[in-house]
Amino acid sequence: MVNLRLSIADFVIDLINKSELPIKLEDGYSDFVLEESTATASVQVIAHAGIPDSLQPATKPIYSADFEGNKLWEIFRIEDGLLFHVYSSTEPYQLQQVAKLNADLTVWDIYSEPVLDDQKSVLFPLLYPMGPLVMYYLTAKFDAIMIHGSGISDNGLGRIFTGVSGQGKTTMAKLWFDAGAEVLNDDRLIIRNQNGTYQIYNTPMFYQDEQRSAELKAIYSIHHSKENTLIKTEGASAVAGVTPNLIQHGYTKDLISHHLKFVTQMIDTIPVYKLGVVPNNSVVEFIRDYDR
């Protein structure tokens, strides 16, 4: 029995509770809960209470993610899929969850230690960073990618500003917000190929926000500059401008090929620009003028 349905980037995620404890989600998910839907789920998440000893890996991890010196998760290959050890983002090296993902990337079994919430024992099956992992493997399964970037909708025109940390993604979001555009998200986005058009979506964050999306019209790989500059890139150069900023677990050629294939198809219809940015409102008008 499905206990909760989520809609993220128009993917339906079914949460099934196999424990006696209630399941809860972080506040950021509240606007992504589907109240009534008969849509087919893209992925099932089965929540279990407690981490069984039997889920200790027998091999070394094939991938390990760290952030500021703390381990966030490890991935192990197992006979029928992948095994994840997910660590607390607030208590270093504290094992938070163990999760199994089937080989088809469609069913998660997530074993979480119960936590106290309002003095009641509950499970948070998608507690960060577990939720983003589920989202990432959704994109790996389907015709979609996750990207670090600021996404905005400027009178319905979806634009993504991407680049390495410190190049001004969040600043761009603020400048566009001040200029009247809708900010979809300033950190993490999903792009989906919907029958040849590309749609940008926000995803649940640690703070509450409504579901947002827009049709993608252009991607800008940004860098600081003394003047606003825009150069359209083509072919491999465009791929190289976008791909390094994808959220990715590049431990198999299959995953890399999935990402490269998506981007290569996308740049056939979506222009990719190198954008030199002066971080003030002049850059907004500069881009709008370019489009006129």
Binding site: I62, Y63, E234, G235, A236, S237, V239, A240, T243, P244, L246, Q248, G250, Y251, T252, K253, L255, I256, S257, L260, K261, T264, I267
Partner: protein
């Protein structure tokens, strides 16, 4: 680094054809290094596709000359440029 070593190292790259170019993504310790992505032009892409452990400089130069209808000296120059690029990347 000789041709055979380069040919053996090919397995450590994920590749994607983009138009006439070839995008290479190095895999280090089984993890892709997207920031070290590398692009080969049409000639480089052709050499990459045809490079194997049996390859010699002479055979590859001849193949380039035939494929791109250039003289042998030009083909040799193109091959050496490719080899320099590829060694830089693999040593990267």
């Amino acid at each position: 680094m000789d041709l055979n070593q380069i040919a053996r190292n090919k397995q450590n790259f994920a590749t994607k054809k983009v138009g006439e170019d070839l995008v290479l993504v190095p895999m280090k310790d089984n993890v892709a290094e997207m920031n070290a992505m590398f692009t080969l032009n049409e000639v480089g892409s052709f050499v990459w596709d045809n490079l194997n452990e049996e390859s010699t400089r002479e055979l590859l130069s001849l193949a380039i000359a035939e494929e791109f209808e250039v003289d042998e000296a030009t083909a040799k120059t193109d091959l050496e440029e490719f080899l320099l690029q590829i060694q830089d990347m693999m040593n990267g």
